[in-house]
C-alpha cells in the first residue's frame, strides 16, 4: 500500500533522511524505533507530503499508486483529509490556542458530542481552550481528530507518551481495532506498545534505516543497533539505593492551602505538602487531574491568592526550576543550544564558558559536538528538546526542581540516564525534586515519597487503578 523508494531529505548541508526504502502493506503495522533526533518524525511528515521549507529531497513515496511528493496541492489536501491520519505527541501548541475543543472536533464533520463519547473525552471539555487542557486531554483530542475519519493510512508519532496508564490501554486498543483495514506506522519509544502493535519493526538512526525485520527481534535483539537502543541490561545508578536518611535537614519545601479553579470548577483544592531537601516526591494521577497546574504553581508561574509556598529555614529565597512538559514551547526557537545553556549559567551567576556547557550536555546524554551546540532549538527532535530543557534546569543549581513529565519523549536508554542523574542530584546537591509523571517505573526509581492527585486533592501512596 505504501512504498517509499530511496527517499532522502537534506536541510542545508545536513542530511535528515538518507536513502530510505520501505514498504507497508494494507493491514500491517510497522513499528519505527530508534534514538531521538534520528529523523523519524521527518519521515512521517514526508509521508503526508509535508516537506520542510528550504529543504531538498529526492526519492518517491507512493500510497496506493498516488505519488505523494509530486501531487498537485488539491489532490494532496484531499488525500490528507480523507485517506491519511496522523497522531502526533501532544506537545503544547499541538492545538490551535484560539479554538475550543468543540471547535476542533467540529472539523471532523461529525457531531462533537458523539466524537467525545467515542474517544473517551469528557463532554465538559468541549468549551475549553487548549491552555486549560492537560497533556493527556490534548492527546485524546488529537487522536479523535485523526481517527474519526477512519483513515486508510495512520501515522502514529509517539501517540501515547502523554497518556496515563488507563488511557494508554484504551489508545492501544483503538490502534489495534481496525488495524486490518489500514496501513499503520507507529513511531514510539515505548517498546511495550511497539511489541503489542507492530507486525514488523524498523530501526532508524541518524537518518538511515539501520534494520527492518519481524516484530520478534525485540525479544532477542540480534542487530547491534537494536541492542544498543534497547537500553543496557545493567542499569547504572538506576538501581542505586537512595541516600541514607538525613539527620539534620538542611531545608525543605512546605506548602499549604494551594487551590486553583478552571472555568469556575475547582481543579486543585487545598493541597498541602512537605518535602525535605535531598528527597523526591513523585505526583501521579490520571490526566487532567491537575499535575501540570500544580507544577506551575510550585514554580511560581501561577500566582496563588490564598495558598502559601515556603522554603524552610527561610534565610534566603529558594531557587526554583521548572522542567516544562512542552520543551519546544519553553525555549526561544531561534536560540542555539549553547545559548540556551549559557543563559541559564549566567542566571545562576556562573560564567557561561564552553567548558561548563560540555558536562551539562554529556550528563543528560546529548552529543557535545560543535555542530550540536550550534543547532537552533526549533530544529531539535522531541527527545533532544526535552533533555535540553532538563539540562537548562540543572544548570540553574536550583534548590527545588519541578519536573513535569520529564521522561515522556525519551527513549529507554535516555530515560535511565536521566533517572540516574536525578538520583545523583538529590544526593550530591540536596535538591528537592517534585516529579509529575505517569511513569510508575520512573517514580519508583527516584521517588522517596509518592502521592497522587484525585478529585483535586493530593493523597499519599500509589493510586489504586
Amino acid at each position: 500500500m505504501i512504498r517509499i523508494r530511496n527517499l532522502s531529505l537534506w536541510q542545508g548541508d545536513q542530511a535528515i533522511l538518507r536513502n530510505i526504502s520501505l514498504e507497508i502493506a494494507c493491514g500491517e503495522t510497522l513499528g519505527l524505533i530508534g534514538p531521538s533526533g534520528g529523523g523519524k518524525t521527518s519521515l512521517a511528515r514526508m509521508m503526508l507530503g509535508i516537506v520542510p521549507r528550504m529543504a531538498r529531497w529526492s526519492g518517491q513515496i507512493v500510497v496506493d499508486g498516488f505519488d505523494v511528493l509530486r501531487a498537485p496541492a488539491r489532490r494532496l489536501r484531499s488525500f490528507r483529509k480523507h485517506d491519511a491520519g496522523m497522531i502526533v505527541q501532544a506537545l503544547a501548541d499541538s492545538l490551535n490556542p484560539h479554538l475550543t475543543v468543540g471547535q476542533h472536533l467540529h472539523e471532523t464533520g461529525q457531531d462533537p458530542h458523539r466524537v467525545c463519547l467515542n474517544f473517551n473525552i469528557p463532554v465538559s471539555l468541549l468549551p475549553r481552550l487548549p491552555r486549560d487542557l492537560s497533556g493527556g486531554e490534548i492527546q485524546r483530542v488529537l487522536t479523535a481528530l485523526a481517527l474519526a475519519k477512519s483513515p486508510r493510512l495512520l501515522l502514529l508519532d509517539e501517540p501515547s507518551a502523554a497518556l496515563d496508564p488507563a488511557n494508554r490501554d484504551w489508545a492501544r486498543q483503538r490502534f489495534a481495532e481496525g488495524a486490518g483495514e489500514r496501513a499503520q506506522l507507529l513511531i514510539s519509544h515505548d517498546l511495550e506498545l511497539v511489541r503489542q502493535l507492530a507486525d514488523r519493526i524498523a530501526v532508524m538512526r541518524a537518518g538511515e534505516l539501520a534494520g527492518i525485520g519481524p516484530a520478534h527481534v525485540l525479544d532477542a535483539p540480534q542487530h547491534q543497533c537494536i541492542h544498543k537502543f534497547m537500553a543496557p541490561a545493567t542499569k547504572p545508578a538506576f538501581s542505586l539505593p537512595s541516600a541514607t536518611p538525613r539527620q539534620a535537614e538542611t531545608g525543605g519545601l512546605v506548602t499549604s492551602g494551594i487551590c486553583h479553579m478552571i472555568g469556575g470548577q475547582p481543579l486543585l483544592r487545598n493541597i498541602s505538602l512537605q518535602l525535605p531537601a535531598g528527597e523526591c516526591l513523585a505526583v501521579l494521577g490520571p490526566s487532567g487531574s491537575g499535575k501540570s497546574t500544580l507544577a506551575q504553581i510550585l514554580a511560581g508561574y501561577i500566582t496563588q491568592p490564598k495558598g502559601r509556598i515556603r522554603w524552610q529555614d527561610g534565610s534566603r529565597p529558594p531557587r526554583v526550576a521548572l522542567i516544562s512538559q512542552h520543551p519546544h514551547r519553553a525555549m526561544a526557537a531561534h536560540f542555539p543550544v549553547s545559548e540556551v545553556l549559557a543563559e541559564a549559567l549566567r542566571l545562576a551567576g556562573d560564567r557561561p564558558e564552553a567548558a561548563r556547557i560540555g558536562p551539562l550536555l554529556r550528563d543528560i546524554g546529548l552529543p557535545d559536538t560543535p555542530e550540536f551546540r550550534a543547532r537552533r532549538t526549533a530544529d531539535l527532535s522531541g527527545g533532544e528538546a526535552q533533555r535540553l530543557v532538563i539540562a537548562r534546569a540543572i544548570a540553574l543549581h536550583s534548590d527545588i526542581l519541578v519536573a513535569d513529565e520529564p521522561t515522556s519523549a525519551l527513549d529507554p536508554a535516555n530515560r535511565d540516564q536521566l533517572l540516574g542523574l536525578f538520583n545523583r542530584l538529590k544526593r550530591e546537591c540536596d535538591l528537592a525534586l517534585v516529579l509529575m509523571t505517569h511513569d510508575r517505573l520512573a517514580a519508583q526509581a527516584v521517588a522517596d515519597r509518592i502521592g497522587y492527585l484525585k478529585d483535586g486533592r493530593l493523597h499519599p501512596g500509589w493510586p489504586n487503578d
Binding site: 511528515r45 503526508l48 509535508i50 521549507r53 528550504m54 494532496l76 489536501r77 484531499s78 488525500f79 490528507r80 483529509k81 480523507h82 491519511a84 491520519g85 496522523m86 502526533v88 506537545l91 503544547a92 501548541d93 499541538s94 492545538l95 490551535n96 490556542p97 484560539h98 479554538l99 471547535q103 472539523e107 481552550l129 487548549p130 491552555r131 486549560d132 488529537l142 481528530l145 485523526a146 501540570s292 506551575q296 508561574y301 501561577i302 500566582t303 491568592p305 521548572l322 516544562s324 512538559q325 512542552h326 519546544h328 514551547r329 519553553a330 526557537a333 526549533a378
Partner: protein, 333 residues
C-alpha cells in the same frame, strides 16, 4: 514559557482595567492643561484676528470687552482657566465666536464625518493587510512575498498627505471619476438611497488615502506573524489534517494574528487620527480635522480646546477598550 503559564485571574484583570482607566484619566487632565496653554502661546488672540478685518473697526471699548468675555479671553490666564474648567465640568464646551454657534453643536456635526472615514478605512486596511501579509508570510522568501513586500515598502515610505494629493490628482482631476472635495455635492439629494450613494462616492478617495497609509504597518505585522505561525506545530497538524484553505486562513492564521493586530491597533489609532486630520484638509472634508485646522488659523480658543479634548477623550477611551481586549486575548497563549 509554557502554554497558559501566565493566566490572568478575573480579579487582577478587573484591577488592571481600573488602573488603566485611572491612568488615562490622568492623561486627559494633562491634555486639558496643554490644550489651554498651547494656543495662547500662538501669536495673536481671537479678538485681534477678528479685528484685523475692517468691518469691526468701529467697536467701542466696552463692546470689545464684552466680546472678549464671550470668547473666554477676559481677565488673567488663571481666571480664564478657572472659568473654562468650570464650564467643562458642567459639560459646557463653550461658544465659538467665529462660527457663532456652540462648540458642542459644531462637534456633533463634524464627528460623524470623521468617524465615517475612520470606520470606513479600518476594515479595509485590516482585512487587506491580513490577507496579503498571511499570503506573503506563509511562503516567506517566495516570489509573491518578494514582489509584494517590495511594493509595500515603497508605499510605506510615502507620507499620507502625498498619497492623498496623488490620489486626488489622478482620480479626481486628471481622470475625474470621483469628486475632489467635500462630503456631499453642492445640492444633495433628498432621497435617502441617492444621498447614501453620494456620500459613499465622496468618501472613497479619503478612505483610500487613509487605508493606504495604515496598510503597510499591518501588512508587515501579518507577514511576520504568519512566517512564524507556519512553523508552529498546530498549523503543521492542521495542514496534515487537510483542512480547507479558507478555514486554515481564518481560524488558524487569522485568529492567531488577531491579538497582535489588536495590540498594534491600540497604539496606531492616534496616528490614524493625525492622518485623518491631514487627509480631511486635503480633500476639504467637513470632519473634525478641518474644524481644528480652521480653529488654529482663527485662534478660536474655545473651539480648539473643545475639539482637541473631544478627540483626545475618544482616543483614550478607544485605546482603553482595545487594550482590555488585547489582554484578554493574549492570555490564551
Amino acid at each position: 514559557m509554557t502554554a497558559g503559564a501566565i493566566r490572568i485571574s478575573g480579579r487582577t484583570w478587573a484591577a488592571a482595567l481600573l488602573w488603566g482607566l485611572a491612568a488615562r484619566f490622568a492623561v486627559l487632565m494633562l491634555v486639558v492643561l496643554a490644550v489651554f496653554i498651547l494656543p495662547r502661546l500662538l501669536p495673536g488672540d481671537p479678538l485681534g484676528i477678528m479685528l484685523s478685518s475692517d468691518y469691526t473697526q468701529n467697536l467701542s471699548e466696552s463692546e470689545l470687552a464684552e466680546l472678549g468675555a464671550r470668547m473666554g479671553i477676559a481677565g488673567s490666564g488663571a481666571e480664564q482657566f478657572g472659568a473654562w474648567l468650570g464650564d467643562l465640568l458642567r459639560g459646557n464646551l463653550g461658544y465659538s465666536a467665529t462660527h457663532a454657534r456652540p462648540v458642542a453643536t459644531l462637534l456633533a456635526e463634524c464627528l460623524p464625518w470623521t468617524l465615517l472615514l475612520i470606520l470606513g478605512a479600518m476594515p479595509v486596511y485590516l482585512v487587506l493587510a491580513a490577507l496579503a501579509g498571511i499570503g506573503a508570510g506563509r511562503a516567506a522568501g517566495g516570489r509573491f512575498d518578494r514582489g509584494l513586500t517590495g511594493f509595500v515598502t515603497i508605499l510605506a515610505s510615502i507620507p499620507p498627505f502625498v498619497t492623498a494629493v496623488l490620489l486626488m490628482l489622478g482620480l479626481a482631476i486628471l481622470w475625474p471619476v470621483f469628486p475632489a472635495s467635500g462630503a456631499l455635492p453642492m445640492l444633495p439629494s433628498d432621497q435617502l438611497v441617492i444621498r447614501t450613494g453620494q456620500i459613499a462616492l465622496h468618501a472613497i478617495l479619503p478612505v483610500t488615502a487613509l487605508a493606504l497609509h495604515e496598510f503597510a504597518r499591518f501588512y508587515y505585522l501579518a507577514r511576520g506573524e504568519a512566517a512564524v505561525l507556519t512553523h508552529r506545530p498546530f498549523v503543521l497538524n492542521a495542514v496534515a489534517r487537510g483542512l480547507p484553505p479558507c478555514r486554515l486562513l481564518a481560524e488558524y492564521y487569522g485568529r492567531n494574528i488577531l491579538p497582535t493586530f489588536v495590540a498594534r491597533l491600540s497604539d496606531s489609532v492616534s496616528g490614524l487620527v493625525s492622518a485623518v486630520v491631514i487627509i480631511e484638509i486635503v480633500f476639504s472634508y467637513p470632519g473634525i480635522g478641518g474644524l481644528i485646522y480652521g480653529a488654529i488659523l482663527d485662534r478660536d480658543y474655545t473651539l480648539l480646546q473643545g475639539a482637541t479634548i473631544a478627540v483626545a477623550a475618544g482616543l483614550l477611551a478607544l485605546n482603553w477598550l482595545i487594550d482590555a481586549a488585547g489582554t484578554a486575548l493574549a492570555g490564551r497563549g
